[in-house]
Symmetry: D2
Subunit: 114 residues, 4 copies
Amino acid sequence: MKEIKDKLRAFAEERDWDKFHTPKNLVMALSGEVGELTEIFQWLTPDESKIENLSSKQFSNIKEEIADIYLYLIRLADKLDIDLEQSALHKIKINSEKYPVELSRGNAVKYNKR
Amino acid sequence: MKEIKDKLRAFAEERDWDKFHTPKNLVMALSGEVGELTEIFQWLTPDESKIENLSSKQFSNIKEEIADIYLYLIRLADKLDIDLEQSALHKIKINSEKYPVELSRGNAVKYNKR
Amino acid sequence: MKEIKDKLRAFAEERDWDKFHTPKNLVMALSGEVGELTEIFQWLTPDESKIENLSSKQFSNIKEEIADIYLYLIRLADKLDIDLEQSALHKIKINSEKYPVELSRGNAVKYNKR
Amino acid sequence: MKEIKDKLRAFAEERDWDKFHTPKNLVMALSGEVGELTEIFQWLTPDESKIENLSSKQFSNIKEEIADIYLYLIRLADKLDIDLEQSALHKIKINSEKYPVELSRGNAVKYNKR
């Protein structure tokens, strides 16, 4: 991830695009990419969305969108000086306490906050 | 990332939540988290969105949402057997060819696909 | 819709919130609300998402989110001086030509742009 | 809106696309369109996003995306038997009580839920 972060920094600096990369703008860019990923999945059934049922064209489109999302996420985290790995591990811990195994097992209602 | 991936697998299995984690559903979950991040930034000016201008409350909310996004992204990539790092490095290469430095410098119009 | 548009204008002016309502910010607000709607549906199967299978709690949450989305859409269109009804009717016409009945019938592949 | 709702029904029926239009799928389609709108605005400053500063190309793209969003919103509301106008008027009333004028005037902090 360090390598990607550095490459993205150089990429933006070389093109003088750093000025566009405010956190607000990067959140929108991230959101736009998630929109593109959503479009690929919108008419598929949950079953059709599984890896074994995707066409190679669908799969390659998905892979590209997921890469774009990851790139903007790293760039955003870099601009906010957030350590993705560490934050994620911390969040898993919080979630473990929030959803204890005994109370959550197979329980769709508990799972779904609504 | 390997550690996070494994913990997320165990987390879902222990709670029998794996059945909810189809790629279609995970894309929606990812999108929902990006929506929460968007809400934090929606009324901020680009300048107010910078790290030095965020309150500690805003910053801690942002960090939590970004962690959630990262967790769902890793889970989704795992379900689709996609290597995030490798795909991202590949995408940077494609982008370098798509936006050559000489033609792209400080050029907002080129930058923006529209 | 005219009544809603006028009420939203008065609402923002009375609170001196008009300054927050740039199109960029309103697009983010719209996106945030769609994120909240997405969260309600993310773990439901397509079948569970149908009106006859929603709980009254789910239904009332959905109704509220859809109202929020509609409010921000009207506000955004107002700020951009766009006539929603007219634009929508125009778009239906374009879509009719883009997807001729004979070629599109029950054709999921054609339907899906990807 | 009644006219649009009826045209969308006929449009889907003629093409046998009704089967794709579950609420879950329509929420994703709505979200995808909002993603496209977001992409148009992502690198613009709030000021550049105002109607008087948009190019005619940008404006026509925005108009088309807003029409798409409105179409999916009507279709979704139709499938859930929700009256958009009535729900929106009801929501404005709730918001008026939630944000009393005296307490909310020009108050960005109160405005922003976070």
